[in-house]
Amino acid sequence: MPPKKNKPPGGDGPTIELDFEFKKRVEKVVDGALVNYCYQCGACVGDCPSARYLEGFNPRAIMLKVLYGFGEELVGPDSPAWQCTNCYNCYERCPQNVKPVEIIIALKNLMAEREIFPEKAQVGDLVNTVLETGRTAPVTSMTKKLREELGLDPLPDIDTTPLKKILE
């Protein structure tokens, strides 16, 4: 008889393939290892604006999927991570200090590593703008006009050499 594969105890439900390698990748990101403290209480769900507005978005379920290692679902093209509003309510509520929003951001970091963040996420463009100009928003002719009208000094150009050096 072949060995049983992670059958849930006491039932003939679907077989779950666990992938601890995926969880280890999440753990390497800053605060990623906190996911291990999640005991699935669901305190993160009640105040979550995305859970209120989007059927299927559930921070507790995302934590469970990280623990199970459902990597394809979490860091694939349809990742739920981009639906998070980054409001930090879950971080505030979590009795285990899991910081669910930080786990969700860790998933985004894994997607960024593989350059599979969707265009709508605007991440790549923004990071490039910061590296090139030192600011998230480049100075435009409108900026110059508004600042002059308000009697403010013009904005200096930012030397981004130090940024590039510390991020090499």
């Binding site: 990101v29 800053v30 605060d31 105040d47 604006p49 995305s50 507005y53 989007l54 981009w82 639906q83 998070c84 509003t85 980054n86 409001c87 930090y88 309510n89 971080y91 505030e92 910081k99 951001i105 860790a106 985004k108 970091n109 960024a112 590593e113 963040f117 969707p118 709508k120 996420a121 605007q122 991440v123 790549g124 923004l126 990071v127 910061v130 030192g134 600011r135 998230t136 928003a137 480049p138 100075v139 435009t140 900026t143 508004l146 600042r147 308000l150 009697g151 403010l152 904005l155 200096p156 930012i158 030397d159 981004t160 130090p162 940024l163 050096k165 510390i166 991020l167 090499e168």
Partner: protein, 299 residues
């Protein structure tokens, strides 16, 4: 009013305000000296970097760039103040993480050493509303007012990143904050709390429909309390409420949701006797007619 002895703080301007909404910077630069705060501009600051997009890219890089900004303030021997909730969140979290985690701090200091800097964790970070509450006090803020905004109903949008996570931000109780209500009252206006006051502006959510629905519900609840203006302290929220309202009113064919958004320091400026132009209120997409009578009142 007797002049207060000046307290000096390094000014961290961020990106969105000086580039897109310089009216907010103008309001800060014109109101703080009236409260005895001396603004010190330092060279070399970059983007904080932003806690949504840059942090999504690489948390370690995000902490590194933030630590460099903080190290510049440390070199000048000054505590920092910020004028944007996003900058406050990034710099406060970096301060908390690096002061609590020696390994992380060493890792980041190895990178900062390449540009001759070291993060030591000696400069504190405060959002300007916290700064004036704690360093100036509500009474002295009220004493700087020459034109009280009596009768003005201000719905308050606290936003997310000013308050949470509370043990990092250390601003107020996120479930029942008072800070902005108290500041609005200090300039003579009436703070009003609306049903959806805790709801996020939704900006970071990349769903096609949910952010607009969040905003619509929030603005309907603001309109329901018949507020004259919606007071904000964050340029990201402001963007959602200013240009965003014009978009929403069109999308939902509902003009009733247009409540003009204003940055708190624009209100403080008006109350201190500045003109609408000096605090840049004439530049907003959704104009605030309710404020014109105060601007017209003699000082």
């Amino acid at each position: 009013m007797a002049a207060l002895p000046a307290k000096k703080f390094a000014f961290f301007p961020g990106c969105l305000i000086p580039v897109r909404y310089p009216q907010m910077e103008a309001a800060i630069r014109r109101t703080l000296p009236q409260l005895g705060i001396e603004i010190v501009d330092l060279d070399g600051f970059t983007c904080c970097p932003d806690p949504i997009y840059f942090k999504s890219y690489d948390k370690l890089a995000w902490l590194t760039v933030a630590a460099r900004n903080l190290a510049l303030a440390e070199e000048a021997g000054l505590n920092l103040f910020t004028i944007c909730s996003g900058c406050t969140a990034t710099l406060s979290e970096t301060y908390q993480q690096l002061n609590a985690n020696k390994i992380l701090r060493e890792q980041i200091n190895e990178r900062l050493a390449r540009v001759g800097l070291e993060y030591r964790g000696t400069s504190t970070i405060r959002h300007v509303v916290t700064l004036i509450r704690d360093e100036v006090g509500l009474e002295a803020i009220g004493a700087s007012v020459v034109r009280p905004l009596e009768g003005l109903k201000v719905a308050i949008h606290y936003g997310c990143h000013l308050l949470k996570p509370s043990h990092v931000m250390k601003v107020d109780d996120p479930d029942d904050p008072r800070i902005l209500d108290d500041l609005v009252a200090a300039v003579g206006a009436t703070p009003v709390r609306h049903g959806e006051w805790i709801l996020c502006c939704g900006k970071a959510c990349k769903d096609e429909e949910a952010p607009a629905q969040m905003m619509y519900d929030l603005l309907k609840s603001v309109a329901a309390v018949e507020a004259d203006v919606l007071g904000v302290v964050c340029p990201s929220c402001f963007n959602e409420f200013d240009l965003g309202q014009v978009r929403l009113a069109r999308q939902y064919e509902d003009e009733s949701v247009k409540t003009p958004a204003v940055y708190f320091f624009q209100l403080l400026g008006l109350a201190q006797g500045l003109s609408l132009e000096e605090v840049g209120l004439h530049r907003h997409k959704v104009r605030a007619p309710a404020l014109e009578k105060y601007a017209a009142a003699e000082v």
